[in-house]
């Protein structure tokens, strides 16, 4: 199980690295689809079919929206110039080095917290949260639903679902406001 997941993750990382260095924007979007659909297979291997169904449709809709934005505007990526000119460092090179330096500092920062988070986890496949047994034993009786994830989402943690529905409504209001055309009166 761990071996299968590791091989899938290596493919996803290769696809992700290609997506950031592609010259054509449509190729970058297709590589983004590699990572998204690979995640669906990972969810199926981790015994989570609810998440697999939601991730596959969300990834499809997200790719459709991104292609709708890219399709009529421009397909070519910007021409990168990170070579050093003859008369010393060029203007573009300094900014690129600054970005890479800030990325390295942030990566070390996150690595420190990641090591602290890993130190208090059991090995893969044996970690249980504190509420796991309480939810599994009582959810079917108290909520009445056979699907435990639906029972947890809508009954035990219903406030999260209410907040999520609010976020979707706010996103729609935001998109309608940003893309409003001026009235032609």
């Amino acid at each position: 199980m761990e071996l299968t997941l590791s091989i899938l993750l290596i493919f996803m990382i290769i696809g992700a690295i290609y997506a950031l260095f592609a010259k054509d924007l449509l190729s970058a979007l297709i590589s983004c689809g590699i990572v998204g659909y690979g995640l669906v297979i990972c969810f199926m291997l981790l015994k989570a079919p609810d998440l697999a169904i939601v991730q596959i449709v969300v990834e499809s809709i997200s790719l459709i929206l991104m292609v709708a934005v890219v399709h009529n505007s421009t397909r070519q990526d910007l021409k990168e110039k990170i070579v050093i000119y003859e008369r010393g460092l060029s203007f573009i090179n300094v900014k690129f080095l600054f970005n890479v330096m800030s990325f390295l500092i942030l990566a070390l920062f996150f690595l420190f917290f990641f090591r602290q988070a890993i130190a208090c986890l059991e090995p893969f496949g044996k970690h249980t949260t504190r509420m796991a047994t309480a939810y599994i034993e009582n959810a079917a009786q108290n909520t009445g639903s056979v699907n435990l994830v639906t029972g947890v989402v809508f009954d035990f943690r219903g406030y999260d679902t209410l907040g999520e529905a609010t976020i979707l409504v706010t996103a729609v209001i935001g998109v309608l406001t940003i893309l409003r055309l001026k009235g032609r009166k």
Partner: protein, 112 residues
């Protein structure tokens, strides 16, 4: 343990994309990779060896089930990620209409 480290490497790839890209669409793609790595990490925490899908099938309940709580959190987070992506794309297409380019170094004038 190596699965967690590979998940963190995917997060770092997304972070590199957000910090050093000059194209707005590449920034959106990098943010999407960071979200995917967090979803995978949460789903990995909830996995139990030889566990079943968390659907009670009507028989005796002496089976080992996979933890349903991280799955509920990731379910909410996936839809929120979609809403965030949609708003970022709306901003991107608005910027393209005004400046005719996706380059973030040329979007410097604040005046309308």
């Amino acid at each position: 343990m190596i699965v967690f480290i590979l998940c963190f490497i995917l997060f770092l790839v997304g972070l590199f994309g957000v910090l050093t890209s000059r194209n707005i669409i590449k920034i959106v793609i990098g943010l999407s990779f960071m979200e995917f790595s967090v979803f995978l990490f949460l789903a990995l925490i909830g996995y139990v060896d030889n566990g079943q899908i968390p659907i009670v099938s009507g028989e005796a309940t002496s089976r080992v089930y996979v933890d349903p709580l991280p799955q509920a959190m990731v379910l909410t987070a996936i839809v929120i990620g979609l809403a965030t992506n949609a708003m970022l794309l709306a901003v991107a297409i608005r910027i393209y209409k005004k400046f005719r380019t996706f380059d973030i170094r040329k979007i410097t004038s604040l005046k309308g």
